[in-house]
Symmetry: C2
Subunit: 150 residues, 2 copies
Amino acid sequence: MDRIDRKLLNLLQRDASRTNAHMADEVGLSPSSCLRRIRRLRQAGIIDRVVAILNPAKAGRRLRAVVTVELRLHGEPNTRQFLDLAAREEAVIQAHAVTGEVDAILMLRLRDMEEYDALCHRLFQGRTNVARYWTMMVIRTAKDETAIPL
Amino acid sequence: MDRIDRKLLNLLQRDASRTNAHMADEVGLSPSSCLRRIRRLRQAGIIDRVVAILNPAKAGRRLRAVVTVELRLHGEPNTRQFLDLAAREEAVIQAHAVTGEVDAILMLRLRDMEEYDALCHRLFQGRTNVARYWTMMVIRTAKDETAIPL
DNA sequence: CTCAGAATGCAATAAAATTGCACGGATGTG
DNA sequence: CACATCCGTGCAATTTTATTGCATTCTGAG
């Protein structure tokens, strides 16, 4: 993992659709060398996968929300059970167990408020293990990266 | 945006490294038709970009945290100023203004606690506009998608 | 300094993407 | 219902890109 690897990873984290020859130019290597490095980074699992990022609005998911959740019954099996339940919801993009005043945090991608309402009913109301929950609707996004700083 | 487009987008959101011919097979189209659809989805901006997703641990960013922030001075210019400040930090992956009991929420990718400490000093202490902040360190992740449900 | 292992560049080859073109199905109109 | 038009499709030719073998160069340990 030298300087060139880092440079390649940074390029790939922003735009993985460039041709290998172009990438080689950027880092000052021959196409074959460049390709072999990228392949090595993939096989080592440093590059986990390559994905397409959609425009949320154009994909019909304008709303974004963060929900913090306090459970009634804390501890390992209960937390896991709730997270698994949440993970099954397609609107739930991320589900984490966390430290702090709450037990879990969910990131949502929503079509509209109707979907939010329905989701809350399924996850938070009825006979679920949720004591309280706090919803933060995203008003404005100043930064939104998938890239991990190196 | 018919059924085939949605299928293509779902495939690309999980793995955009497949060959066009493979994708064509998956959706039951010829390679040329498949390619033209993908190109159209890109030009329409539905596909925003294609990126490499790294393994956080192998990239040296084992720690993940969510921080909610209450500002001293609320309202538009102050919130924007704080978000811009936060966005300049490389450990800050996402920065949002939100509704609810807090004003902003930050997603962090951290190397270690030392980096967290330094970041807190820069963003939350001293003469910044932050009244209080709550850190939730991610213990376990049950779901972590970049894909937007269609 | 010397040697072994790893990385590199070049050129040939294989694979993939891209394009032109003709066909077929859906839609709208007289 | 016949007809013209438009859009998407598949095939095959072409161009571009990825991949590999091999000789050379670089790097680090002893």
